[in-house]
Amino acid sequence: MTQSVVVQVGQCGNQIGCCFWDLALREHAAVNQKGIYDEAISSFFRNVDTRVVGDGGSISKGKICSLKARAVLIDMEEGVVNEILQGPLRDVFDTKQLITDISGSGNNWAVGHKVFGSLYQDQILEKFRKSAEHCDCLQCFFIIHSMGGGTGSGLGTFLLKVLEDEFPEVYRFVTSIYPSGEDDVITSPYNSILAMKELNEHADCVLPIDNQSLFDIISKIDLMVNSGKLGTTVKPKSLVTSSSGALKKQHKKPFDAMNNIVANLLLNLTSSARFEGSLNMDLNEISMNLVPFPQLHYLVSSLTPLYTLTDVNIPPRRLDQMFSDAFSKDHQLLRADPKHSLYLACALMVRGNVQISDLRRNIERLKPSLQFVSWNQEGWKTSLCSVPPVGHSHSLLALANNTCVKPTFMELKERFMRLYKKKAHLHHYLQVEGMEESCFTEAVSSLSALIQEYDQLDATKNMPVQDLPRLSIAM
């Protein structure tokens, strides 16, 4: 069994990380009733004897003593991380896993990347090495960060290079929260595009998510729940609707519900690696199947169903709805419309009581309405994990390598250019040591090249699929 380490960076990364560890504990508690430290739990948690002083004390078998998250928490201000350490998850973390500062990155990628990167490089590396030493087969680093702020975008992408140099064979999966057009950080376009260059060069897979999509999904659920249409049958404690269980609180802190969606994404992504199923999928299969060219490693995700009905027996029609919804633009975690764009590859990761015939039936049913690139007409990767998420009888995570990510990148570039042409706020970046204007021009060139790759693929859309002449054999 392999292990993964979660690296949560910045305010946003740590808030999502907090939700992730809460849900992970609940998921494993639901599956593992006897409290035995098993292989599945070991993927994300160490089992530690708290009586042992220092870094040792790992226990690989037997009863759970004290679970410690395989995590590194990084923020350049103390607020969120301190809140975690005071909160209900305090026993899961150790102060040795933290790197914090007090001044923050000032919503400035350059400060996060150049100043704090240099300042904390050795500490970051030390934390990574320590977390890796505790794994007996480290497979993946999950980095969670936002693109709009300075710490998430700057330091969050700086450590990608550190990881690549130190652990070249360990995957780097990045969950990046993209700012929406109305983001209150005015410099977010600069931060995002500077970060994009790093993601292009150093990430294995990026799961782009934007706040507006999360907000729209939460609003859709609210509307459904409060309309009375399904009110009597929606499970109030479903993980996707709210971890607190009280719908009123959801309005006070909408970010909790939004963070839960991202946390569920990561749990569903790794469910087949942790739990048993008739068609297993490990993490190394994701980049193998979904990244046809090294630069095109952005995957659009959707999670269905959004809420859970109380019926445990699923009529096939409702199951089919789960599959249909996965391709609808309203269920994507990025504002994107994959159904009307071009698929390079698609993974369907199913959990719960779903059989291979359900999977095959839905692929056959959906295929005619989706357009796949000419050289990958059957570009499906499938997995079946028998363990459903807590509170659900079944769920589906769809990951698409699809040209529908292009509008997000184009919009980002437009917002960047609008600021850049006026040289607005540029001096805040250029005064940072090591920062030059060429950093900006190179970053926008990198993004433009990526957009062009997608353009070339889109150009093949609607062209007739023709088989190429094959090798002829002399008889």
């Binding site: 292989e39 359900d358 570009g379 990767k381 088989d467």
Partner: protein
Amino acid sequence: MSIVTVQLGQCGNQIGFEVFDALLSDSHSSQGLCSMRENEAYQASCKERFFSEEENGVPIARAVLVDMEPKVINQMLSKAAQSGQWKYGQHACFCQKQGSGNNWAYGYSVHGPRHEESIMNIIRKEVEKCDSFSGFFIIMSMAGGTGSGLGAFVTQNLEDQYSNSLKMNQIIWPYGTGEVIVQNYNSILTLSHLYRSSDALLLHENDAIHKICAKLMNIKQISFSDINQVLAHQLGSVFQPTYSAESSFHYRRNPLGDLMEHLVPHPEFKMLSVRNIPHMSENSLAYTTFTWAGLLKHLRQMLISNAKMEEGIDRHVWPPLSGLPPLSKMSLNKDLHFNTSIANLVILRGKDVQSADVEGFKDPALYTSWLKPVNAFNVWKTQRAFSKYEKSAVLVSNSQFLVKPLDMIVGKAWNMFASKAYIHQYTKFGIEEEDFLDSFTSLEQVVASYCNL
């Protein structure tokens, strides 16, 4: 003689379990519909073939379980032990912590060399337990990375280290509409390498088995377990003991040797397919009776019309007229979808088996011109019924059955290769474009050879 089964990857291990379970369930069945003496001889032969000396009276499968991640192997070990009827050897397993990631190159070039010694040691110990060794049966999928890449590597090692023993690979053909995105690459790499190192490839298509579950078995929600049980039934029907036509006093002793002697007369033609009749749900079976004439008529029509199951057979396909020149024959094959054979083996199990008439399979028009029907066709029989069927027939065929599926896979892989998609994932682990081209060349040759029968 005994067979050592090597189970590779998630797919190979799940199927292997079902095969051993099916073999022993059939062996223990009280509905053999034959004499007690006959039944006891059948059971003894099955046991010697597939199981080694009993520990506390429980047979131990002659098997080696290989996977690069531990979940499935652990599951199979405990399921077998829980049955109480049989189990796997405790030291017959090899697994690691991280899988091959659906990457043939990783399985073949990294996992293979790294674990060669450990895996071959376990296999050697299993072979040494056999009083008389017939050969290896290797179960694998060609879609993923462990079954396909590591499977090709292991088979090559078996060829090097046991060059006098036979190797038959049982290969699972992935769903045509996609289950692994790089499955076509993995498939061409697997098949081209196995063509050099294996003695025979017995191929099962997931799509065909799925249809059997849906249409013949009437299963509404088909699980992988259902699919694997149909596969196991088909394999069991081939490998359970039979008499040869020449000697009706002892069950044949060299199952792999006899099979390949009959079916693989030339190393360029080694792709085998299986067709079973009947396949039926328990409910339907209770209300149905079979005649040998009916079963064999359907089976023959399945053969010549290239049908994958008894439902939906094209009844208008006929053998070409004998005496036509080869060019005309090729034209007829293409137009009428007639399936030409190299060699066929029909295995008959059950009641009144001696009365079954297999003359229809001896028609020279079914076969390629360079092999006489007396050499191209064989029949094995036993009065002992198989599984729940009073009468059952299975055809193991070396014919054009797999030309179209192979041609499609090569075509899809070629289109993807032309775009250079995913190639970087393979070159990272030492499989270069030249290796792909070698595979394409090799398989185009196989397609052409079968097309020109």
